[in-house]
Amino acid sequence: MRALEQRFGLDKPVWVQFTLYLINVFQWPPNFGISYLFYPTPVFDVIMQSLWWTVFLVGIPTVITAIIGIIVGVWTGKHPGSKTDTASVSISMILWSIPFFWLGLILLWVFAISLHWFPVSGAASGGVTASNPLQATDIGDVLWHAFLPMVTLVVATYAGYSLIMRNTMVGELSQDYILLARAKGLRENAVLFGHAARNAMLPMITLIGLNMGYVVSGAILVEIVFAYPGVGFLTYRAVLAHDYPLLQGLFFIVSVSVVAANYIADLVYAFLDPRIKY
């Protein structure tokens, strides 16, 4: 027992532990300690094995939802109050209220357990050997496993983007430059996408950055439901096993990633808006 305590540094006073922890973290590769659960693998390595799977799982749906959300937002922003718009907004509101994990559970049940169209869990048949989805030997197999979780994420995050895009479009379409664009005899699509949407996109980019935290939270839940070996599922296992070093490391890395994503979104915004010098 004593030996274990010494091994993990738990015998030192708390503030010393904390300072040592920080010093260890801010080096490369960061030292988050040794995982209880995966002893004796260091936490950092454990996390790195799962991180890319989550990035893969989150990245593709984010791109898809952003695109669909923008298109729907543009089409409904044109005629606020129309039947199409009301229907679209209502659908968005319903989707917004659906809990991520419940949706995932239902999809899993219907399409995987009952219909056997998709695998029940995991990221690749026969377990995960690669730590990076791009290195996996069978991309088709990976996509097949990822399909249901990704669909869950797309459906659950769609509403936010489409609603905000719609509202922004309504605002942009009432601006003066739209009148002139129409007067110039531009085709309606050129006015909508070339002018209005281009301006409306800017706040969307900030939104995508801000939403990252929400999407990651959702991904954690989805991974748990589908037993998908990303950082979310890892977190779940760490919680169950009281693996505090792993939990801390996960929290740190996930938070840093979200903050970084926000920062990148800000940079992209500054790059795209000619009024801002960066």
Partner: protein, 297 residues
Amino acid sequence: MQTEESATTASKSEFSPRRASAISGIIHSRRAQVGFGIITFFIVLAIAAPVVAPYSPYAFPAPGPPYSPPSSRFLLGTDYVGEDILSELIYGGRVSITVGIIVALLSTAFGTFIGIIAGYYMRTIDEILMRLTDIVLILPSLPLMIILAAYLGPSLQTVILVLTVTAWPAVARVVRSQTLSLRERPFVDSARVAGASDFRIIIKVLLPNLASIIAANAVLITEIAIGGEAALDFIGLGDISVVSWGTMLYWAQSYAPFNGAWWWVIAPGLCIVIVGLGFVLISVSIENVFNPKLRST
């Protein structure tokens, strides 16, 4: 994002006639009426649980055979032990909704407090408070909640605490920006010139004008808290011996699919969706009143 917009436009409702018409606008919108209807229905159901529910969800021995599908005895079937799911739903609603309301109250109170102080006193206090707020705000909520809950141990109080911690920063931000713009208004200046103390100004002048934005936020937080509570329970960080919509799904996840008990999974989730929808309708109608261009009905 939605609440930030309400912050800038809601400032128009500083005079009573305007605010009265805003409130009537909300009350009369069909959206809000549906939303209020839904919420009221569930709250009444929750309060009247002992009267309405056919069985007790903790009944021992369990009233029915496990995994029995919906029937006249058990309108929504039974769970893996044999408890009536409808009763679980009604009692569970109590817990879920109460948690939502408590979290909304606590986080709104704390967030408003921080926001007003920061916005009113500005300069250093504002800097410090906002740095603190931003740190919590920027961290992704579920991971934060998980790690806190992991240290605090799974229980209902943990869930409430952890949800409140992640909810208050957004309130603080919105209240602060509203306070900043309000404090420059003439009626605040005249109160100060008349010799009113800071405390008085805050309570008597600022708070009433912030009321609408605070209310709009509180509604939103309740909805998010109910969903959040379900998520935390689902992971197993809540008190799994208490029946709530979230814990129902926790148990259902393990046992329902392979026993074909689809009703067990559908019922609590559907309740969360419908209640959530009710709150969303209310908050959207509040926003539409303040920003008429967005009207969809």
